[in-house]
Point group: C2
Chain length 229, copies 2
Amino acid sequence: MAETRIKSSAPAAKPQGYAKSDQTRSTILDAALAGFGAHGFAGATTRGIAAEAGVTLPSIAYHFGGKQGLYIACAEDIVARYERSATTLASTGKISFNTSGDPERCRTDLKRMLHMVLRIFAETESAQSRADFVAREMRERGPAFAILYERLWQPGVEMTARMLAGAKDKRETMESDRTEALMLISSLLAFNTGRDVSLQILGRKVLDTETLALLDSTIDRFVDALTRA
Amino acid sequence: MAETRIKSSAPAAKPQGYAKSDQTRSTILDAALAGFGAHGFAGATTRGIAAEAGVTLPSIAYHFGGKQGLYIACAEDIVARYERSATTLASTGKISFNTSGDPERCRTDLKRMLHMVLRIFAETESAQSRADFVAREMRERGPAFAILYERLWQPGVEMTARMLAGAKDKRETMESDRTEALMLISSLLAFNTGRDVSLQILGRKVLDTETLALLDSTIDRFVDALTRA
DNA sequence: ATAGATATCTATCGGTTGATATAAAAAGAA
DNA sequence: TTCTTTTTATATCAACCGATAGATATCTAT
């Protein structure tokens, strides 16, 4: 009874660490994010992920316990990365998360945040895979739904609503603020979920700097239109 | 070489029609829309669809040539239904699709249309399956992408952009109008793609009449904010 | 009414999936 | 070195997939 030891993704009291092991784990995780992001939980195959990562099939079971364990590990990696960058943003003062009575500042911060989200949605490579992973899980309520909902979606909307209310010089967020926040974030999904379609309709091939600028200015127009008296 | 005859979905010059056949075909199509809408092309199984429709597996190959033929038939059914209802709306004068120099009328029509789209996105039963089917195909560029893009997505965005321009009292649509149209439609995806999450965040269980009214008024605020000088 | 076209059924094929058992080799730690 | 941890290689399993062959039933046209 080999009692397959599943390495917990939280590195709580790592007993013995072999350098190579962590590297293999990380390689598998990257391949899994790409695979799950592109094809979903059911659509991605463990064989394909293992091949992509350059390891053998049983290696996945060894490190993550199985397909579902690997999937959850992906979600936790995404959330951890998000929380890290949010902390950084707050500590460096680039975005003030308190709704101090400065509507203009709130508006600017809100715009800046939405520009950032747009780039996360639209950027290529691994950022795209992560965004796809999250979007898919939100739709399909898969095994990682709770993690992503509580630690990413929920706080994200709440923060946006707070900034919206702040930009309107209100102290409390109301239901209408949350609704507007939802729709504001959702409007950016055109360039994640529907990226190819949107680009095609705009007659552009890729999301280059010029296109991003066009979208940024449209975002600004939305925010201004919604929050200016 | 039995040369399996695939019944073309366009009933062009139906040579011989057996009454029961059309009924079976339609039953399969309904089950397929539900299955593909919920699980996608790869995720839905022909066995499951056949079982749901109460027919046997080979019946699908007989009527549609195979899994992919069935998928395409679903897309064409959706487009046909959309084109029919658009024609009806235009002919009954509920929505004027010409951008006659009446900004107020354009604004009202645009709001009315977005309310309608919201209901298509959010409504239960078969409308939901169809909306899911379209949203999924737009993401994944499956076998039915071209059909849906050219006959549904593209004209839908174009019409929205024209109404937006009209509401701003402009005669020509610019790139910024198309961008705003994209984001406006996309903002409603929060209640299609992300319906469950959005409801949960708003603290609601179902999309009842009261919630719909809240969303309608938020849509109106978006439209007003964007088009009023 | 009967021949031929149309529709449906049972049964099965070859292929792929996730998971796992077994064994052994490779690598780091003691 | 000796022991533990990590990785690979190979093979097998039950379950499920889409497709189709072949037999049968049903309906229409003559």
